[in-house]
Amino acid sequence: MKLVIEPSLQKFLTHFSVLIHAGSLSDPENKPGLAYFATRALLRGTKKKNFHQLSQEIEVLGGSLALAIDQSETLLRGSVLTQNLDPFLDLIQEVLMEPGFEPVEMDLLKKILEGELEQSLQDPRTLVSRALLQKAYFTSPVSRPPEGTMEGLAQITPADLHAWFKKFVVSENIVFGVTSFVEEGDLKRRIESRLKDLRHGPSTISQFPSATFPAHRQAIIVDREEMSTVPLFLTVPGISDRDPDSLALEVGNFVFGDDFTARLMQVLRAQNGWTYGAYSGYGQLLGPKREAGLFSIYLFPSAEHVEKAAPKTLELFEEYVSKGLSEDEFRFAQEALSNRYPFRLDSAEKRLGLRIREIATGRPYQTTEQYRARLSSLDRNQVNDRIAKRTSTGNLIIAAAGEHRRLESVFSQLPGMKEVHTVEVTP
């Protein structure tokens, strides 16, 4: 187990981030959602305590434990009143070492997860991102949501949960992050003494698959009636979190779509009022990864403006890739990012997050001075060269939700568009 301690000056709370190198990529083909189910199940009781007792004991301490999952990792995040640190650590020990997986409780959890799956598609952005990942990763498990599918959940048995736990919740597979006012050596002793008996096993860091983009432009539509806005993604292959070009592309993206002052917001919102928001980035559809993910643009124009907003977005994107940044824009981004960097490190929790990210994706942790030195060493030509070489425009996928006839007409008229499909997204 890797233990990462980030000292904090905040006296009241201690925060935890426990990373397990197992996400939905580890799910068997016919059981998508197993990792999510299993980790949610960790919080549904231990061998000594049922769900009610466990949650009561955590929360009476002023504690909380919650879960997040993506394709590569599962993150158990928690906080507690520092005065109750020891009993809370006892409970974390129990959760990580003695899960209950009691059958009746698991049946109930399955029912809750099924309801949540259905509920999640109420969010238009989730709906469209789901459709897009289905298309871009149709041959790999990334095409399925990390939370699983109804079909997959139905196949999962208590034996699967036990097997998952034995394989993945092992010392070599866990990064235990903590930020606290408690003295570092003392904190280390308190944690290690409780987790020294964690089972051993191989680390299971998985390779993130590449997206399968068509050789031409495609659009996919999720047919939805009575939508007042049109959630719309435009996507192309992206970069990995540790990519040597990531800083140059961060500068480029700042000018293109990562800020209110960026081109997307200025043209689509400030000048035309077509959409409330329009942003771009490498982390909109997939979290940071060791391997390449996706670059995307997200906007949600009013339905009446989609005819203008969609082609203009594509035009802005092509211009960004072909012409890059002006000298003024480059200098502006350099200055802005340099001044802004201290905010990435201004709390112990943020610093802890970056240290864990370094372990998970290989992106180096940088002090303000290191970041600024790298930033000042860039020049505009380098940035524009990287934008042009690392961003494709020919094989993009556009995905949106709304009335399919209207969207079909808009998308089929976009330059270079070869295919427009209507797809279904089911929980």
């Binding site: 009476v60 002023g62 238009p124 806005t229 800020d259 209110f260 000048q271 009022g273 201004d346």
Partner: protein, 493 residues
């Protein structure tokens, strides 16, 4: 020689400062003490917040209030400007009688002054490293905020003081901004959560302007003119209606000087606010329903009128909502979700200037999407309230509820922006941002008997407003049947 240690400083200068202040902070603090005693009015209040951070409060002759919280743990600060005007006030204003302008106007505050024409405000801030720059409008107040590196304090003061009086309102820009606001409005229409809440407020408030949405209606948004925006600006954006909160790596005396220099010449003017009509005591349960194309399950909301946030009963009510819905071990998580009736439970307690609502919400499990399922949810709730009214159960739940609340409050004290937001919410509603910590004390001292009292007083069945949201489109017969079933019962009652 300035002292290298702050131990032993008199309490009025914030003695007992956190021990983690470094030497440079100590020097800045000592400089502040020396200067303050000679050249500027004494602060009207100095105290240490529960998290150890020192707070200094100043008042200016033009009515402007300033609160500075020093946090020297990182070289950054958050600057927030709070105006005591929200959508409730515009609805009550005889010259406006509508909602939506306060919010549209908030958007216009980013569209330029003579000194910083359209686009410049955001560009200057971005260039200087702004981390989070935005604004929000709500029923009782409007706030503007930005976080910047510690050497950009003067810039924040200049930009904010400039737009407090020198905004250049332009009809073309107003029309463009209406497009963005209409986009925001439509985004809300597509969101079942937003629509659920809007329906609840509309049903629960009969006369109080809290029943109207802050964003307004499409017709209202389209109807606003530059003249109306100017009227709103000139009437409500005055130093005597504003409070500035600065939290971070700053020196209070320097903040005072910069504020004095940049805002000092802005004149105060009297502002006549209309009192909101008090909501009549609810004597009968109410119900309403709506249909939404994006809803996948039947949603049920319950609202109960409560008290202003300043009321002594607010803290025990806050403990009640914590007992019911905060955390996995909350009562309704157990009795609604783990009983298999609902997928999720959610609760909220409005912290408003006037009495708001205690809100409970659930989405039904697919095998409970029927009128019987809705009734079951309500029956469980009635039983929970009865149980919460007993000393044994109130004693059993109070510690978990209190510690969950403390966790949530302390989490908001951990970074500059969250702390400023936490405190700022009490400027309009109570008149004092430090009320956040008074409330903390009230939460800590509330007893099981207080819980029982407020449950019995406020959570009565006849004070309930129930709103049911139905999925508009059904993929199978079950939901359609459930809807028809429920409508039939509704029609009979």
């Amino acid at each position: 020689m300035p002292p290298t240690s702050l131990q032993g400083l008199p309490r009025e200068f914030g003695g007992d400062l956190p021990t983690y202040l470094d030497d440079s902070a100590a020097l800045r603090f000592w400089g502040r003490v020396m200067l303050m005693s000679h050249t500027r009015p004494a602060p009207i209040r100095q105290l240490d917040l529960p998290n150890g951070l020192p707070l200094t409060q100043y008042a200016f002759p033009n009515g402007l209030s300033l609160y500075v919280v020093e946090n020297h743990t990182a070289p950054v600060f958050t600057y927030e400007t709070w105006f005591k005007v929200g959508s409730k006030d515009e609805k009550l204003d005889p010259a406006l009688k509508a909602t939506g302008l306060a919010h549209l106007f908030e958007h216009m505050m980013f569209r330029g002054t003579k000194k910083f024409p359209d686009g410049q405000f955001d560009e200057v801030l971005a260039r200087n490293g702004v981390d989070d720059e935005n604004a929000t409008t709500w029923l009782d107040r409007t706030n503007y905020y930005q976080s910047l590196p510690n050497d950009k304090l003067e810039l924040a003061v200049q930009l904010e003081s400039d737009r407090m009086v020198n905004l250049a309102l332009d009809s073309k820009l107003l029309e463009t901004e209406k497009g963005a606001v209409l986009g925001e409005y439509r985004m809300g229409l597509d969101d079942p959560d937003m629509v659920s809440y809007d329906k609840l407020y509309e049903a629960a408030f009969l006369v109080h302007p809290y029943r109207y949405t802050t964003i307004g209606t499409e017709e209202e948004i389209k109807s606003f003119t530059v003249e109306m925006a100017n009227y709103f600006y000139r009437k409500y954006y005055a130093p005597n209606n504003a409070t500035i909160l600065v939290v971070g790596d700053v020196d209070p005396s320097q903040v005072y000087d910069l504020i004095e220099k940049n805002y000092g010449s802005i004149a105060a003017h009297p502002i006549e606010f209309q009192e909101a009509p008090p909501e009549p005591e609810q004597k009968e349960a109410r119900s309403a329903e709506f249909h939404h194309p994006q809803l996948s399950q039947i949603r049920v909301l319950f609202g109960y009128p409560t008290v202003p946030v300043s009321d002594p009963d607010f803290a025990p009510l806050w403990l009640v909502i914590s007992a019911l819905t905060y955390g996995q071990g909350a009562i309704l998580e157990e009795d609604w979700v783990n009983s298999g009736v609902a997928i999720s439970s959610y609760g909220d307690l409005n912290q408003f200037k006037d009495p708001g609502l205690l809100i409970l919400m659930a989405d039904l499990q697919s095998d409970h999407e029927s009128e019987e399922g809705i009734q079951e949810l309500e029956t469980i709730l009635n039983k929970v309230f009865t149980k919460l009214g007993t000393l044994e159960f109130a004693q059993e739940v109070i510690e978990r509820s209190r510690n969950q609340l403390l966790l949530s409050i302390y989490q908001q004290c951990e970074d500059n922006a969250s702390l400023a937001s936490l405190m700022g919410e009490y400027i309009s509603s109570v008149g004092d941002p430090t009320f956040a910590f008074e409330l903390l004390k009230r939460v800590e001292s509330a007893t099981p008997q207080d819980l029982i009292r407020v449950v019995k007083k406020y959570l009565q069945p006849h004070r309930r407003t129930r709103v049911i949201g139905y999925p508009q489109e059904t993929k199978d017969g079950a939901k359609e049947d459930a809807k028809e079933d429920a409508e039939e019962v509704e029609a009979k009652s």
